[in-house]
Each structure stands twice: as C-alpha cells, then as structure tokens.
C-alpha cells in the first residue's frame, strides 16, 4: 500500500483526549465485499473514549458501508470490531444477536442521514424519545415523560411540542429529535451518517453547534461519516479519508485538511467551494 508511510507518520500523533488508554473501539482489517466489488477493504483504526473521528470521502468510497459494518447493520466478510463493553473488550462479530442488539440500544446510538429512517413518524416526539427508555425497561409513565421533556429541551425543541408527531416538524427539528432519541439512554459510542445532509446552512450550523456541545458535555465517542469537510473541521478530532473502499490517509483533522499528503486528499480539499 503506497500510503502506508503516511499512516505511520500520523499514527504517532494520535490524540488521546481522555486519561483512559484503552480504546473504546478497535477495528482491525475490516473488509466487506459486494460480490467481486469492494465495499470497504482492510480498514483498521482505534477510537478512544471522548474522541470524535470523522470519515470523509466521495460518494461510493465505502464510508457508509464501513459505518454499517461497525454498527452491526451489515455483516463484514473479514476483520475484527472490538468494543470495550462493561465486561471488557469483546469482538462484536462474535457476539450473539441479542447481545449485539442490546448493545445497539444501550451503549451505541445511530443517527441516520434521513431523520425519517431513524424516527417513528407515527409516534409523538415524546414517544420517540421514550422508546429507548422503554426498550431498556422503563415502566413509569411520568418518569419517561420527564426525561423526554428534558431531552427535548436539550436539543432546543419546545417542551409543548412533546405530543406532536415528527411529521409536523421541520427537517432540522426532526434531525434534532433523532439525536435526542438516540442520546437519551446515555450511549458511549455514536455513529452518525451524514447528520447534516439535506439541511440548509443556517440549520446545519445550529445542529453542529448543538452536536458539539452534547459531545463535549457527555464525553461521547463519535464516528461521523460525511462528505462535508466543514462539518469534520468543526466536530472531528481526527480524520480518516477513504477512496475506493480503502483508507488513504488519516491523522489529526487540522493536519489532514491543512497539509494533505495523499493526492486524493489534496483534490478533496481543493474541491471545497469558497464563498
């Protein structure tokens, strides 16, 4: 691999924001093929607690495939995904399905690009936020409602809209609601697939601001997939650039964006429209 030298350069400069030295998520040689074509190939990285890792690349570069494999929505063909569970590091691929699904609704969260994929459109905002609570056994209506109201406040949705359905919400509100619904059980790892896609710039800015606040406040580890370099510049500590299913460059966000080494990254950075 030509870019192997780049990787070793930046590997030394991995930031470790928290005192904890054990990675929350360790990915080793993850590969997913669609028949003869490659979805993503030989992806390896560590994600530390409290760290935000951005994954950028053009459409079809394997970003979403990678995220789906990590989140357990798709089964990878090879590699290991080791998550630091309460009982110690476990390979999620070797977990039983009930265990993996329990993880997905407690320690993990998944924010879809399209809020409609992540919300129940026929259920009120409060019900959407409360669903994860009820899924882990909350059976006290007043408590669930109090928590839901609190979370709507934290994502800047007026509490009196708690009984409205998401279909009555604007796109930005739907996305914020989806985030509240995912974070309500206090996950440790959040997967985000283009969370700002399809939103206009001012709404995007507000959402990013909110996300940044929540991530810092809750000490979340985040894997964020996007093609928008401005989003990763704002949110991500570290960056991974993908092309054709492979990681071509990774390092600190500012380093990669200000001093791109790989030809493709240079192209990507120079393609950003300037206002």
């Amino acid at each position: 691999m030509m870019e192997g030298s780049d990787l070793s350069i930046f590997a030394k400069k991995k930031p470790q924001p928290m005192a904890s030295t054990a990675p929350l998520l360790r990915v080793e040689g993850l590969t997913k093929r669609y028949g003869a074509r490659i979805g993503c190939a030989d992806v390896s990285f560590d994600l530390y607690p409290g760290e935000v890792l951005g994954i950028v690349g053009e459409s079809g570069s394997g970003k979403s495939t990678l995220l789906s494999c990590l989140a357990g929505h798709m089964a990878p063909d090879a590699g290991r995904v080791i998550f630091d569970t309460a009982e110690g590091p476990r390979d999620t691929r070797e977990m039983s399905e009930p265990e993996r699904r329990r993880l997905a609704r407690t320690d993990w969260a998944y924010v879809h690009q399209n809020a409609r994929d992540g919300l129940r459109m026929g259920v009120s905002a409060g019900g959407n936020v409360g669903e994860r609570l009820m899924a882990v056994g909350a059976r006290h209506y007043a408590d669930i409602r109090t928590t839901a109201t609190d979370w709507l406040g934290r994502v800047e949705i007026a509490p009196e809209r708690i009984d409205d359905r998401p279909s009555a919400f604007s796109g930005g509100m739907q996305q914020r609601l989806q985030i509240a619904r995912n974070l309500v059980t206090g996950p440790r790892l959040v997967f985000m697939d283009e969370p700002t896609g399809g939103l206009d710039v001012s709404v995007q800015a507000r959402l990013l601001d909110l996300l940044r606040g929540l991530v810092r406040e809750m000490g979340l580890s985040v894997l964020i997939v996007t093609h928008d370099l401005a989003v990763v510049r704002l949110l991500a500590d570290r960056l991974m650039v993908m092309k054709g299913g492979r990681v071509v460059e990774q390092g600190l966000t500012d380093q990669v964006l200000d001093d791109p080494q790989h030809a493709y990254t240079q192209l990507l950075v120079s393609s950003v429209l300037q206002v």
Partner: protein
C-alpha cells in the same frame, strides 16, 4: 349437492392434521404465533375463517358447539357459522355456555365461567400485536424471538399522552407466562382478566394471516401497563336494562332519535338465562 360430499366438519383429514399440529405447537409454546397453511373457506376473510378452521380441526361427532359473535348467539356471523357446522359435521349445537364443549367466539369471552374440558376458539383478524408500530414482519418476528417488547409500551405511552389514560379498549396487549406478548383478538379489555388462569383451552385462529396461537388451561396472562397507570378492565357504568346484571359487559343501544338509549348485556345467553330465573332490569316489560 348432498352434505355427504364433504368430509366431517368440511375440511379433509390431512388439513385437520396439519392444523392440529399447529395447535399442539401453539399449546406447547403459549402465546407464540404458529404459522399454518390456512385454507380457502367458503366464506370471506374477516368472517372468521381462522376460527372456523380451528373449530373444524377440534370438532368430534359427540361435541356440542356454541358460536357467538360479540357475545350474541343470534347475529348473522354466529348463525351462519353454527349452521355451517350443523350441516357439515352434524354436531349438536347449543346457546348455553355451560352445555357447550367447543365455543367459537368473535370478540368476547362468555360471562359464565368456563370449565375444564371446554375449548374456546377465537377469530383473530390481526394476530401481530406490534403490527401498527413496526410494519416489517421480519422485524416483529425478531422482536418476539429476542423478547424486545419496549415498542408495545410506546403504544400505551401514546395513549396516555394523547388521552390522559390508556385508551386502548379492545385488543389490549397481554404478556403470556412472562414471555410472549400476544394480541388477545379484539375482545374488550373488560375480558382480559378472564384470559388468565382460565380452566378452558383457548385457541386463536387467524385465517388471512395464517397464524394459530393458544393459551393452555390455567396460563398466566398479564395485561401490559405502566407503574403509574395500571391496567383497568373497564365497562359502561350501568346495569343491564333487561336483566339488571351489574357485572357483565354491556352494549349500548340507541332506542330513539331523542337521545334515548339502553344498556344490555352483550352476552345474550347470560342475559336470557338471568331473565328466565326472574331477574328484571330498568326497561324490562311489566309482568302480567
């Protein structure tokens, strides 16, 4: 055509064996929806094709059959299904709950307590309690498999959020033996407590959906609720206007266009037998 052209109770023996296997599996795993190869029946879907097939598989020549529709023995659905089995099986029929060995029901459990040895067959339109929350059947099966029933409470949450109380008044979801969440068919929630610890064998047949499930005698069935909004079995706060019963489930009948109404037992057999021994209600005819 002569009725002898049909096998006993209409269905052929192989079909009945197939249905009995599904029933046995259902009894072995209470509350679990067993798929079965539902047959075309000489009646439309929605008229009780699932219940009829289960009844057909259970009937024996010495059985005594009762058919009720919303508690009544004399409505179209009940009358036609009863006639159907009279013609094709030649079994005895009755309207008295206590005399029947097999009771096919639509949307009610009889008021008279059932006894051991009786079979109660329910007609089920939609067996999947999670259907309207999660439309994907593959996903709901997985949820049953992994016992992920948080979503069922989302429905109850929505009820309270919108109506201030759990407004679901029929097809109220229940949990069977602490395991499977089950749709008890559209019986009023007034009947839910009778599902639990019942002496009779309860079988549920959904023809269009091709599912059979069962509650063996004395199965524990718990209606889902919230800690601060417990389950309540509700009924209209009246007495029966014909027999004066205060504890039975009531139908409301509009009697004129000036707001006049009466409440009568939905279980006609229960009401008639009470009237026969002299009970009187508010609107009972004057005694002569």
């Amino acid at each position: 055509m002569t009725d002898q052209a049909y096998n006993f109770a209409y269905l052929d023996e192989q079909t009945k064996r197939m249905i009995r296997r599904a029933i046995l599996k259902g009894v072995a795993v209470p509350g679990y929806q067993v798929p079965f190869a539902s047959r075309e029946m000489p009646m439309p879907y929605g008229w009780g094709t699932g219940g009829v097939q289960v009844t057909s598989a259970c009937l024996m020549p010495e059985d005594c059959l009762k058919v009720i529709d919303q508690g009544a023995d004399d409505t179209t659905n009940a009358v036609s299904i009863r006639k159907f089995f009279q013609r094709t099986a030649g079994v005895q029929v009755t309207e008295a709950t206590a005399e029947a060995s097999v009771i096919q029901t639509r949307h009610r459990i009889p008021e008279t307590p059932l006894r051991e040895g009786q079979i109660l067959v329910y007609q089920v339109p939609i067996p999947e309690p999670l259907r309207f929350l999660e439309p994907r059947e593959t996903e709901t099966r997985k949820m049953h498999e992994l016992e992920e029933y948080g979503l069922m409470h989302v429905k109850l949450y929505e009820d309270i959020a919108r109506h201030g109380q759990i407004a679901t008044s029929y097809a109220y979801p229940v949990k069977v033996e602490g395991r499977y969440v089950m749709d008890p068919s559209p019986i009023p929630k007034f009947d839910n407590p009778k599902l639990s610890d019942n002496a009779a064998l309860q079988l549920f047949g959904a023809g269009r959906e091709q599912r059979i499930y069962a509650l063996p005698p004395y199965t524990q069935v718990v209606s889902l609720d919230f800690d601060d909004h417990p389950f309540e079995a509700g009924k209209a706060p009246h007495d029966c206007d014909l027999c004066g019963a205060g504890e039975s489930y009531l139908d409301e009948v509009i009697v004129d266009d000036a707001g006049g109404r009466m409440f009568v037992c939905s279980d006609t057999d229960f009401c008639a037998s009470r009237q026969a021994v002299g009970h009187r209600g508010r609107l009972s005819p004057e005694e002569v």
